[in-house]
Symmetry: C3
Subunit: 479 residues, 3 copies
Amino acid sequence: MARTWEVPETFLFGPDKAQKEVALDLYSSVEGLGIVAPHGHVNPGLLADPQARFLHPHDLLVKHDHYLFRLLYSRGVPLEALGVGQEDYDARAAWQTFCTHFHLFDGTPSGLWLRLELTRLFGVTEKPCAANAGAIYEQIDALLNTPDFTPRALYRRFGLEVLATTDPATADLSQHARAQADGFNVVPTFRPDAALHFARPDWRTNLQALEQCGGRSIERYATLLDVLRERRAQFKAHGARASDHDAAQVNLAPLSGGEAEKLFDLALGGQLTPEQAYRLEGHALFDQARLSAEEDGLVMQLHLGSVRNHNPLLFRRYGPDMGSDIPQRVNWTAGLRDLLAAFGNHPNFRAILFTLDESTYTRELAPLAGHYPALRLGPPWWFFDSVLGIERYLDAVTETATLHNTAGFNDDTRAFASIPARHEVWRRTVANWLARQVLRDILDLEEARHLARLTARELALQAYRFDSPVVAPVLAAST
Amino acid sequence: MARTWEVPETFLFGPDKAQKEVALDLYSSVEGLGIVAPHGHVNPGLLADPQARFLHPHDLLVKHDHYLFRLLYSRGVPLEALGVGQEDYDARAAWQTFCTHFHLFDGTPSGLWLRLELTRLFGVTEKPCAANAGAIYEQIDALLNTPDFTPRALYRRFGLEVLATTDPATADLSQHARAQADGFNVVPTFRPDAALHFARPDWRTNLQALEQCGGRSIERYATLLDVLRERRAQFKAHGARASDHDAAQVNLAPLSGGEAEKLFDLALGGQLTPEQAYRLEGHALFDQARLSAEEDGLVMQLHLGSVRNHNPLLFRRYGPDMGSDIPQRVNWTAGLRDLLAAFGNHPNFRAILFTLDESTYTRELAPLAGHYPALRLGPPWWFFDSVLGIERYLDAVTETATLHNTAGFNDDTRAFASIPARHEVWRRTVANWLARQVLRDILDLEEARHLARLTARELALQAYRFDSPVVAPVLAAST
Amino acid sequence: MARTWEVPETFLFGPDKAQKEVALDLYSSVEGLGIVAPHGHVNPGLLADPQARFLHPHDLLVKHDHYLFRLLYSRGVPLEALGVGQEDYDARAAWQTFCTHFHLFDGTPSGLWLRLELTRLFGVTEKPCAANAGAIYEQIDALLNTPDFTPRALYRRFGLEVLATTDPATADLSQHARAQADGFNVVPTFRPDAALHFARPDWRTNLQALEQCGGRSIERYATLLDVLRERRAQFKAHGARASDHDAAQVNLAPLSGGEAEKLFDLALGGQLTPEQAYRLEGHALFDQARLSAEEDGLVMQLHLGSVRNHNPLLFRRYGPDMGSDIPQRVNWTAGLRDLLAAFGNHPNFRAILFTLDESTYTRELAPLAGHYPALRLGPPWWFFDSVLGIERYLDAVTETATLHNTAGFNDDTRAFASIPARHEVWRRTVANWLARQVLRDILDLEEARHLARLTARELALQAYRFDSPVVAPVLAAST
């Protein structure tokens, strides 16, 4: 028989008893605040359409979550057994497989999020295992068919103040418009990666999509830049406050105009070397920063340092986002030098830096953010959005950069229903970390309460320039 | 007068009092388990010969332990004063020198191991110092001449279930056979470094030894590979479950067959550049992985990232293993890419990764092991086999890779008598770390107990494919 | 109304209650020890002249402290508003601006130092804020005009045993002589960077200053080396025990004599490439080490790894030391290899290593210092001279290198009045760290007390070869 499963009041606090008490005090003061979600990967269609529904428990909770299935894959579970990459599969059997291996997530952030999500949202009272998998499936499935569990109902229940999605440069944005028209503060984020990753095999295809969207052919780099400028304006008109950029290395260095055009020519001809592609991408990212500083003020998010699709077998079979993106060493100090020389002191420019190389926290990122007015540090990203990851981040960056130079929290999730759980783990872990500082007389209680409030909500609003609402906010909570 | 020296029941636990209690509960549940030692450097001759004896306390405990004498050397103690590298020396005087400086090891892993070893095994009740050095020497020396302190008696007393040694490709393995014939589960590990480090000055000599052992001349790389294939089979027939490989960098990238032969030709002619040697080694390691995946299933241990013999003065005077091997930065994400593309999803292949670059724990190793089914993370290695080193490791890898993707513990020691102490420090430190997770409600007590058992013994058995015994196990403990 | 502001007896201890008690015991045993300040940037003129006075609170505490104004700059405060780089400004208005933003320093090392300094030294009882800024200014300003607050009075009150300044090779050293003549143990440190940074635009100007100081023209590298040798001797005659060196990378590799002269020729002609400058600097640093080992025994401090003046706008406007020096990744294992092969075992040579790349603590620095007799690890430097920075350092280096291979503490400050605060944070943090080891039975209380004394004072004296006083010590404390 499975054990009782619950979330105690002092969840994640301690280990010291006095620390638990102070942490609970701090957490209580922020527990009820609205949720600001300025960066994530939720499908905007969920909130555009009042009729949108979640398909079933396995689709909602497992099938699309590469945090979960990459770990199961590492332990020998075939992806097919989880329905991953399959149209037609037995969802209940896949859920059974998932629950049978649920203990593998003990102590992982996914395990903590699921514990919060299953108990709080769906009222599950037993830890999933082989024996209770079926019953839990039915319990959740039944709830998903009730009006309280539609995406829009959950948006309200979660107390979301704003939800930013991440969208290709070619996105039509009508879903965001529809959601906003009904009072949901769902805004797009401009992510032009597909057009700027010149070395990708599908780059030409992506460029064609952009040509279609931009209404003209793109035969020069300058034209590409113009089309992207127009798209940024469209995004901004739909409430976007930020752009988002992915690259395997930190490199934002401008080329001469002539060289950029020459490399773009080679790219069109499919003759770009990897080194040339790397330099052209650096130039293109620099130009996106220039647009931000000199024209539209979109906050530039830099999610850098991940080698995408490290496992070619899985990439060939299933495509991207299969949990085989692997971080590598990066160099922010050198890679941002040209960018910061140009725009680091510019009042209109803001970049938020996200790293997967924790050795750069104290060596590069905190000193950079503790000096340049244009920089903010993004919260611990991806593998580091975890209790210990958050603690390492706070330990590493606050003494040099201070929390004021961070962007607060963002959940970065494509799993809509996990949003409150992720913010709760962040808020609890921060509260416990602050409690430790209080017990050591590094902060007093009032200072800690102020920082708890900032990190829970306000810093995210400020960093992403959401100080004034994009659309009138919907009523939060208690629906 | 020296103080009383003892090991309290809650040794290494805390600092929180509640944490000590939970840690003691967890540790108690694994304290009595047998010891699995799947990687180390014990001399197999100790267990092959029933008449084998330890020479004397200084030879057993100090002279061959570069963890000890490198630190003393750093503090100005000449190696000669410790008998290092000397045939003829005054062992009691050397021991006196060691004990005079014993306080230097306060707070070091060596200090903790010696405290456990001297108190538990030899009944020493005072911390060594100049005043009591002679008496302690005589006390230990007397015990070493009793039947309870022969290597075979200690093997039984320690509760060893299996002990893997590390052996050159040319080892004749008869000692392992003799030990096994008498019921001692002592197995070899295949370490072909001498034949694959093409840039070493003694490579030609090493190759000749392999030619002798393999019964034919080796004039092509393909022949070298054939001879190694045969030797691997011999090792496997003697119970080996693993190979072991050392290199200063992470590089396992195949060359074309033609290029490998060309470089091998240059190596035979002594004309290989360092860069060519590096590439040929990478090719040769890749081929060892191929043999594992496609032929014999020997688990591939990769101990990578140490610059050997950094101090040329000591190397000229005393040879290798003088405590002057210094780690350097490595790149697992790039260096394993070809290997994992080829065999990372192969059901027969397994690699265990050991690093001296802790910055790779969260950035590279945990994401790799949390995705590829073929990978396991080796325990904290060498300088990091310490209380704080273990804690950093657990903090860094478990949230992303989970303990299930680790290889449990191995002691990696050449000091036979220190084996139980090293496993005890591991088990205690893990118990205390798990207790912390329990107090924060990240794990419940049952989950923590399960993980304590796994890490203490089972994960090592599984990772090294010792699930079925190599020879019938000898009776453990209580001798 | 501002809150009461105080420093409790157990400041920085805990969070565990038992840990606080042991930490207080340990700290009490070192609290009263004299202060050894073997590396810093205090202006020797403050102590040379009995009439020297501090200008006013803002000049003393804010204007010259780039730890403070770089953070304020990052939060949008213009440097002009703080009087930085300005001759003529309203000090009270600048102080008002500073106090208005004082809360930004909550939890930072600067905030902790200021709390200690303002409460202990100046009797401030409220945390600075906009409302009380003026009153605090007047309170401190009044004290600065009393005889108890002259630099010389504070030197005695602080219990300084020795204070080393950092001085260019061209310094005339008469200020040190005057201070010493009056019984103040103020010694210079030889820092020849200006003459050895061959790629700096002002290198030729710096070389001319050295020619003037050395009394001859410098047209060959060999002459440069001779002049520096003579200057080292002058420094030593004035009590110097150390040299100090800054470079953006770790590189101490000798060239052939012919190549060095050739590169020096190019430098004179302004034709050195950055790569050539890098190599010539490495050669010149190697030669400074040779002078230390073979001639004068000055301890070589290596402060390596900072990219100076990362922000060109601020450099153009205000010059260096504006808080925009940003660390980068370094490689000690490779960069020191030639140096250590030559002098790592030399009884006369000593190098103290300072890093801004914490990933090198466990990977490179602790293994190097735990082996080479010539090496000591400098205390956590700059951004890492903080509670958590000190804890990371202790955790990372002590198990492998031991505290005995460290150089104890140095405050590295240009803020004379902050010296006691910085040493107190170090001593308290070490005491708390040792207390944790005591509670886990890793150290006993006697061992911990011994290490507390070593780290508080003795290791610094030993590392910098201050075992015998340079001049007769002045009477410390209680003026």
